[in-house]
Every structure is written in structure tokens, then in C-alpha cells.
């Protein structure tokens, strides 16, 4: 019988209930400390599985899996924890800053390895997202984080997904090791402006963060062009920015994202609405940033990456903010009514992508279908498209929207009322 697995090792320590309770308490502290990192992605890495393996466990097949969803609407794909929430830095927006009074804990390497494997074998997770407060020095911290990944990969043959948080300006040898074991690496840019970072996180160096992203990009590119033996973070790098903790406008944030995507080939920029933390500093805004603002930024980011919009095309108000009441694609269409209506049977793909209510997949299905027949409204209904929205912007042989498109109250009619949910 091949590859018998040991039962959860804590069972072997029967009678040692205290150790078990302590580990639960640690898990609670170090998961709570990790939840402000939005990323939980586990897609887009190289494919591997454990067929024919003598030991080890796991597979990755392109698309990651969301194994659970919490009532904050976020998905649980990875075990997202900190190695320790002790930190020598004092970044005011962070729950783990040195001057905060939150309880502290630190996992051993072995504890993280056992939790990861245990959850993985029960099909609870796709893998591990490990980050850490800075203890002793950046290099020491990075070594500890890498050691967890090394033990998982080399001693336990773990083939699941690993995302490691990279400590800016860590030694190049440590970066190389991190990229060898991890699928994804990330460094958080934290705040949209360097002035904001200098004010709220004086120990962090925005330039050092950018330089490390640049180094990661060079290594990721090199690995792509080279043989697979020289593996380096096949799922690329990502970053996160906190929205609403400083005065940056949406336009500044989107400009920053444009620069970051272009310069470092990031897979994703995550936007995290500033959210109140226990034991907060008075230098922070007292109220949380609206989640809807975060949502609008994600929509704008999507439009830039998949719909051919550039940051400066997206309409913002005089203060540089996206409209909270109208999504940015609809806002663009309302501001450019002269470009509509479009004939659904003739319009170019890049213009169809700009129609409110049409996604990339719908556009491609429309283009495939219209090669064979002229599409009418009933056909669009069969594609399960939001006709109410489309009607104002599209022409079909049996429909023309002239009046609708010119209506002064079009915005009010089309902006969905379901936003109550997003404000919640």
C-alpha cells in the first residue's frame, strides 16, 4: 500500500491538551493579524500533481479554488497567517505595529507545516500564504519565512500553492530561495503616495519597495525564458495598497497602478479599503473608507487590464474621485453618449467592450454568434445579458434606443439600486 499518511500529529500527543489549546490560540491571533491582506489568489502557477509520487501531497491545475467564503464576502483559498505578529516597525495603519497593544504570538516552523498539511489533506485549502512581522532584522525574518516553505516542499513533498510575503531589500540570495519554493511573491506598496508612507510608516522605504519589485520582475522574466529547473515564482508577483488611510485620490491610485503594472508586470494590484483596527492610532481617519470605493477601484482596474481603458479615460470628479453612485464603465458611456448606440451586428470588438452590461465573454460570444445570423433582442436575452442596461446603447434589427440614450435621467435609471449591499 503506497504512501500511508500519519494522522494529525497532535493526536499522538494525547493528554497534551494544553499544547493543542495553545496552538488554537496562536492560530486565532496570527490569522486575525493576517486578514488585512486581501490577496487569497491561488491561480496561474505551473501545473503539478502527486500522481506516482512516493510521498507528498497536492496539485495545482491552473485555476485556484475558493474553499470557503466568510461573511465579509472574501474567499478562503489559502491558509493566510503570519509567522509572528511581533514587529519592530511602527506603521500606524497596521494592527501589528510595535506600539499596538494586541496580544503577540509566534508559530514554530513545524506548527505552520502541520497546520498547512492537515488542512490541505482535509481539502480545506489550496496552500499557504505566509507573511510576518519584522523581527530582529529583515533578513532574519525572510529566512524564517523561507524555512517554512523549504520544509513543506523538500521534507514533505508539498505540491500545493505557496505565496510568500517578501521583505523589501532582503538579501538577493534570500529572494532567490523564496522564488524557488514559492508560487507567488508579493510586497505591499502599502500607501498610494510616498508622502503618505513617510508619514504613517517612516521605517518603510517606498523606493526600496520599488527596487525589490524590480528585482523580482527581472528574476521572474529570466525564469520564464530559461529552463524550468531555474524556477522562480511561476505565479508572478502582486501588491496591495490601502485605500482611504491617506488623502490620495482615486486618480492618483489608478495612475500608481498603471505605473506598477507596466514596470513590474504585476499579476494584481489589490485595493484594501482602510478598515478600523483594534487599538488604532489617532493619526488615522476615525471612520472606515467606504467599501464601495474599494469596489469602484477594482472595477476601474479591471477596465484598464481587460477592456482597453486607460487610467486617464476613466471619469473622475474635480477631486479626482470615481463616482460612487455609478460604476466607471457606465460613467464613461454616459459621458460619451455620442459614441452610441452601436449596432450589435457590426460594431468592432473594442467598442462592444465599452458597452455597459457587456463583459469580455459576452462580447466574444456575440462576435461568434453574429457570424452566422443577425442578432435580435431575443438573441441577446438568450445570452442572459442585462437588456435593460443594453437597450440604451445598442441597435438591433428590431430595436433602436434613440430616445432612451438621450434621456437626462439615464444615469438614475441604470445605476442599480442593489448598491445598498455594497454600502453595508
Amino acid at each position: 500500500m503506497a504512501g500511508l499518511q500519519k494522522p494529525w500529529p497532535l493526536l499522538e500527543q494525547k493528554g497534551n491538551r494544553r499544547a493543542a489549546m495553545d496552538l488554537i490560540a496562536k492560530l486565532e491571533i496570527l490569522a486575525d493579524a493576517a486578514k488585512y491582506d486581501a490577496s487569497c489568489a491561488s491561480s496561474g502557477t505551473d501545473r503539478r500533481n502527486s500522481l506516482g509520487a512516493k510521498a507528498g501531497v497536492g496539485s495545482t491545475e491552473g485555476m485556484g479554488i475558493c474553499h470557503a467564503h466568510t461573511p465579509d464576502g472574501r474567499c478562503i483559498s489559502l491558509l493566510k497567517i503570519l509567522l509572528t505578529n511581533a514587529c519592530v516597525y511602527d506603521c500606524l495603519y497596521c494592527i501589528n505595529r510595535r506600539s499596538s497593544n494586541v496580544p503577540r504570538a509566534r508559530f514554530t516552523v513545524d506548527e505552520i507545516v502541520r497546520l498547512t498539511l492537515g488542512f490541505y489533506r482535509r481539502n480545506c485549502i489550496e496552500g499557504l500564504f505566509l507573511s510576518s512581522g519584522i523581527i530582529r532584522s529583515p533578513d532574519y525574518t525572510m529566512e524564517q519565512v523561507i524555512e517554512v516553505a523549504r520544509v513543506l516542499r523538500e521534507e514533505h513533498g508539498f505540491r500545493g500553492y505557496i505565496h510568500l510575503k517578501t521583505i523589501p531589500e532582503a538579501d538577493p540570495a534570500l529572494l532567490a530561495a523564496a522564488g524557488r519554493y514559492a508560487d507567488r511573491l508579493s510586497i505591499n506598496i502599502e500607501l498610494p503616495s510616498e508622502a503618505g508612507l513617510a508619514r504613517l510608516a517612516p521605517e518603510k522605504d517606498a523606493r526600496g519597495i520599488r527596487r525589490t519589485m524590480a528585482r523580482l520582475r527581472l528574476r521572474i522574466d529570466e525564469a520564464k525564458a530559461d529552463d524550468p529547473a531555474r524556477r522562480f515564482a511561476p505565479a508572478g508577483q502582486s501588491t496591495q495598497v490601502i485605500v482611504g488611510a491617506d488623502a490620495s485620490s482615486d486618480r492618483q491610485i489608478l495612475d500608481m497602478s498603471t505605473v506598477l503594472y507596466g514596470a513590474y508586470d504585476l499579476r494584481r494590484v489589490y485595493y484594501s479599503a482602510f478598515s478600523p483596527i483594534p487599538d488604532a492610532s489617532a493619526a488615522l481617519p476615525p471612520r472606515p473608507a467606504p467599501l464601495l470605493r474599494e469596489h469602484r477601484l477594482y472595477q476601474a482596474d479591471w477596465l484598464m487590464r481587460f477592456y482597453g481603458f486607460s487610467a486617464d479615460e476613466l471619469p473622475t470628479d474635480r477631486a479626482g474621485m470615481l463616482d460612487l453612485a455609478v460604476d466607471p464603465k457606465l460613467a464613461w458611456a454616459l459621458a460619451h453618449r455620442d459614441r452610441f448606440p452601436l449596432d450589435v451586428n457590426r460594431a468592432a470588438r473594442e467598442m462592444l467592450l465599452r458597452v455597459p452590461g457587456l463583459g469580455v465573454r459576452s462580447v466574444d460570444r456575440i462576435i461568434a454568434a453574429r457570424r452566422h445570423r443577425r442578432l435580435r433582442m431575443a438573441d441577446l436575452a438568450r445570452l442572459r445579458l442585462p437588456l435593460g442596461k443594453l437597450a440604451a446603447f445598442l441597435v438591433t434589427p428590431d430595436h433602436t434606443p434613440r430616445r432612451l440614450l438621450d434621456a437626462a435621467d439615464l444615469a438614475r435609471r441604470l445605476a442599480p439600486a442593489r448598491q445598498g449591499e455594497l454600502f453595508a
Binding site: M1, K35, I65, P71
Partner: protein
């Protein structure tokens, strides 16, 4: 009327064999009745093709769609799929592209529902450990909407190949013994153990990773509908998490904030022994340069590098994409071309000092790329502060100006390259300038013959420069 009896609920092979012989025989969809054999089991042999006509090749996309849709819990699925196949055979080769066709629409809907069910099974199945004589077995219970276990089991084999496991569903069960996959009859929930040593940890994790300040219940239930909750150990916590979220958030917001004081730096950074002097000190200072706005979008200052007593200094325009990432001048495509030309001209790059007129990369972001932009005269003037110090420190006999921006920076005027290239231009008593093209100009030439011609001229210029530098 034809009657095809399939071996079991997901007998794709049986359906395909029958359909591939019925369609060429011209059997109309409405003349076939499809059913699944009573008490069907997996070992049954598929029904032999009822009509002995020649089969035909079915488009791959249709087979893939059929393979998925055949798992749907819809008694009409075999007939719908045969309708599609019959029409494709009758000449509608692009039928599947017509997402608006009623039958295509219906079958796509079935396939979509099967895919979603498949995703949910991979996501929400939870294993529990059972200790058996031959080892620990992981046993999971799932209630799929469709007949997806058979098609889905190989995914779990690939992932958990070294474990022993069983997946139980109401209609069938799958078992993996480490080497072979087998299927058995359906089961019920009571055959899975109630709890598992690790579930307390998993529930603790689920509670702790939730952020009460961002309650979005509908976003959760659209991805994890309530019907799955009863088999998810973590879901029991959901009502309490929702109920207490607002109160927890209010408590955080209302809590007296910690006094506002500027955050202090922790331990001061160790000061390196001995202050750097000369070029190193200038480079360190230049790393913090804010003399023009280019620093903001760029990654870093790309300072010059090379021999500090070099007889020849090369000045380019500005760092490009690769130089900006690496922090070193002339390492990208233009740098590689320069290296080749230098080698051909018999010049050792390590004995040169190589720098740029402007030390930050100026670009226009466009999607995943950064498009090079020419620095303007203001930026060149601002950056001359650093170039002058490099020239003073290295004090080269010859300064080779690669392209118009470098020439403007050093000569202080607009220069037409083709008019002034290739000859000595005195700078001072013991310093000479020399103008030639920038290697990126060679890269941009569209015509191969022109490229070869210009490259040869560039190498000639470099030879002449080496001679002048002595």
C-alpha cells in the same frame, strides 16, 4: 422509433457510439428514445450501436460539451445532445458558435450548471480522518446536484494520490486505495465520522480570518449558497459572526484612539564604516535626487559605472526599461548591441566609464509595457548637475556622446548628429568630445541592409574614438 438503453447515468461512451451511427443513418432526433438501464452499474458494457452505419468524425468542441452536459441531472440530456450532433452532421458545422440557438442555449446551460457543481464539489468537499487497519483513510461526504462524481474523481486522485480516501455521495461512492480508483453504490451521511481532530482548528481559522468591519453577506452566499452549509464544519459559525459584526466594528471605531504622536523610528540603521568618497558618495546622493519630476514614476536613479580613471567615457541618453529595473546603465537591448560593437572595435568595456545624460527612466505606461519617451531640455539641464560631477571625477580624455540628448547635455546646444559625428570636438585643453549615434537608433532601423550599414559605421566611429582617447 429507436430505443437506446445506456449503461448508466453518465454513459458518455455509450451515447457517443450510438449517436455516431444513428446520425449518418439519418435517424431523426424525434425518432430516438434515450434511457438509462434500470439498476445500472458501472461495470455494464455500453449498448452496441443499434444501426450498423458508418460513423463520422464529431467536432471536438461538441464532444467536450457533450462530455460535460451528459453529467447533468436532466432526463432529456441524451436527446438534446443527439439533436445537436444530428444537426452538425446534417451540415450545421458552426452550430455551437450560435449561442443564441435554443438547443445550444439549453445544452450550454446544462454544461454550465455541471461545471459549477464540479467547482463546488472541489471546493466544499471536506475530508475527515478514519483510522483503519491498513492506515488512515480520508472520508468525505458531498451532495452533488448532478452526476459529477465519476468525472471529478480523477481530480482528487491527482491531488491526493498518496492518501487513501473515499468520497461518498447519495448516488455513488468513489474509493482510492493508493493505486486504483473504484466506484461503489451511493451512501449516506452517517457513514462519515462526525468530527475530526483538526476541525476545531479549521473553525478557529475561519472565525479569525473574517473581518467584521466589512460585512458583505450576499457576496458570501452567492459563492457559498446556504444549501452547502450543513456539510461544512466552518459554516456553523456564520450566524454568530454576522450577528456580532456590527457591534465589534462599532467597538473598534468608538474605542479611544491611542494618542497621536509621530511614529518613532526603531533602532537606528547601522552606519557603514567610513563615509564613501568621490563617485560613490555622489552616486549615493544622486539616489535621492528630486531635481526634476522623473524620479517619481521611475524605479531608481541609474548612476554611471565603470573605471574611475577611464580615458574614455560613454554618455547615453537615459536608462531604458531594463536599466531602470536593474539599476545599471546599458544592460538592455541597446546595451547588448553596444557591447558587441565595443568588442568588434577592440574596446574593453571594463576600462570605460559608462553613464547617461539623464539618470531616471522617462516613459509612458501602456498596458504591460513602458514606452520610452525622450527627455526634454529641462530634464537634461536638471540632470547635468550629476553628469558634470562624473566628468569632473573621472576626467576622461575623450567623452563619447551617444545621440542627440547626450550631445546637448555636454555641448550645451542642439546637435545634428550626422553633421558632427566622427570627429574630435575640443572641450578644454585636455578633454575632447566625440559625437556618434545612440545604439538604440540601430535597433529601430526597419531595413536589414540599412541596419548592417549603420552598425558598421558605428563600429568605425568607436575605433576612431579609441584612437583619439589614446
Amino acid at each position: 422509433m429507436m430505443h437506446v438503453v445506456l449503461a448508466h447515468e453518465t454513459d458518455f461512451a455509450g451515447w457517443r457510439t450510438a449517436a455516431r451511427s444513428l446520425a449518418p443513418a439519418g435517424v431523426q432526433p424525434q425518432d430516438v428514445v434515450w434511457s438509462v438501464r434500470e439498476g445500472a452499474d458501472l461495470l455494464a458494457v455500453p449498448a452496441p450501436p443499434p444501426v450498423g452505419a458508418a460513423s463520422f468524425s464529431v467536432p471536438r468542441a461538441l464532444l467536450e460539451l457533450a462530455e460535460t452536459a451528459v453529467q447533468a441531472r436532466d432526463p432529456e440530456r441524451f436527446a438534446l445532445l443527439y439533436t445537436l450532433l444530428f444537426r452538425v452532421h446534417a451540415g450545421e458545422r458552426h452550430l455551437l458558435d450560435q449561442a443564441t440557438d435554443p438547443t445550444v442555449h439549453r445544452v450550454s446551460g446544462l454544461a454550465r450548471s455541471v461545471r459549477r457543481d464540479t467547482d463546488k464539489m472541489r471546493a466544499f468537499l471536506r475530508f475527515r480522518e478514519v483510522v483503519e487497519p491498513e492506515g488512515t483513510r480520508h472520508v468525505g461526504w458531498f451532495e452533488p446536484e448532478h452526476y459529477i462524481l465519476e468525472a471529478n474523481a480523477p481530480f482528487f486522485v491527482r491531488r491526493f494520490a498518496t492518501m487513501l480516501w473515499s468520497i461518498l455521495t447519495p448516488y455513488r461512492s468513489a474509493h482510492w486505495d493508493g493505486e486504483t480508483l473504484s466506484f461503489g453504490p451511493g451512501a449516506d451521511r452517517t457513514q462519515v465520522p462526525d468530527d475530526d481532530a483538526l476541525e476545531a482548528y479549521w473553525r478557529a481559522y475561519y472565525r479569525s480570518i473574517f473581518n467584521p468591519a466589512r460585512l458583505k453577506v450576499a457576496a458570501m452566499t452567492s459563492e457559498m449558497p446556504r444549501k452547502y452549509w450543513k456539510n461544512l464544519p466552518e459554516a456553523a459559525a456564520i450566524p454568530t459572526l454576522i450577528r456580532t459584526a456590527q457591534q465589534r466594528t462599532a467597538a473598534m471605531v468608538e474605542q479611544t484612539p491611542m494618542p497621536s504622536r509621530p511614529p518613532r523610528k526603531s533602532a537606528p540603521l547601522p552606519v557603514p564604516e567610513g563615509q564613501p568618497a568621490g563617485l560613490a558618495a555622489i552616486a549615493q546622493e544622486a539616489a535621492r535626487c528630486r531635481r526634476c519630476p522623473l524620479w517619481e514614476r521611475a524605479t531608481q536613479t541609474v548612476f554611471g559605472e565603470g573605471a574611475r580613471d577611464a580615458a574614455m567615457m560613454l554618455v547615453g541618453e537615459q536608462p531604458g526599461d531594463q536599466e531602470d529595473l536593474a539599476g545599471r546603465p546599458f544592460v538592455g537591448p541597446a546595451g547588448q548591441l553596444l557591447d558587441r560593437a565595443l568588442q568588434e572595435a577592440g574596446i574593453d568595456r571594463t576600462r570605460l566609464y559608462v553613464t547617461n545624460a539623464v539618470k531616471h527612466f522617462k516613459f509612458e505606461p501602456r498596458g504591460k509595457r513602458r514606452i520610452h519617451q525622450k527627455p526634454d531640455s529641462g530634464e537634461i539641464a536638471a540632470c547635468k548637475f550629476w553628469l558634470d560631477q562624473e566628468l569632473a571625477e573621472v576626467s576622461p580624455r575623450l567623452t563619447v556622446l551617444l545621440g542627440a540628448s547626450a550631445a546637448r547635455a555636454v555641448l550645451g546646444r542642439a546637435v545634428t548628429i550626422w553633421r558632427e559625428r566622427g570627429r574630435a570636438i575640443p572641450l578644454s585643453a585636455n578633454a575632447t568630445a566625440f559625437v556618434t549615434v545612440h545604439p538604440s537608433f540601430l535597433l529601430r532601423l526597419p531595413d536589414e541592409a540599412a541596419k548592417r550599414h549603420e552598425y558598421a559605421a558605428f563600429v568605425r566611429d568607436l575605433r576612431e574614438a579609441a584612437r583619439l582617447a589614446g
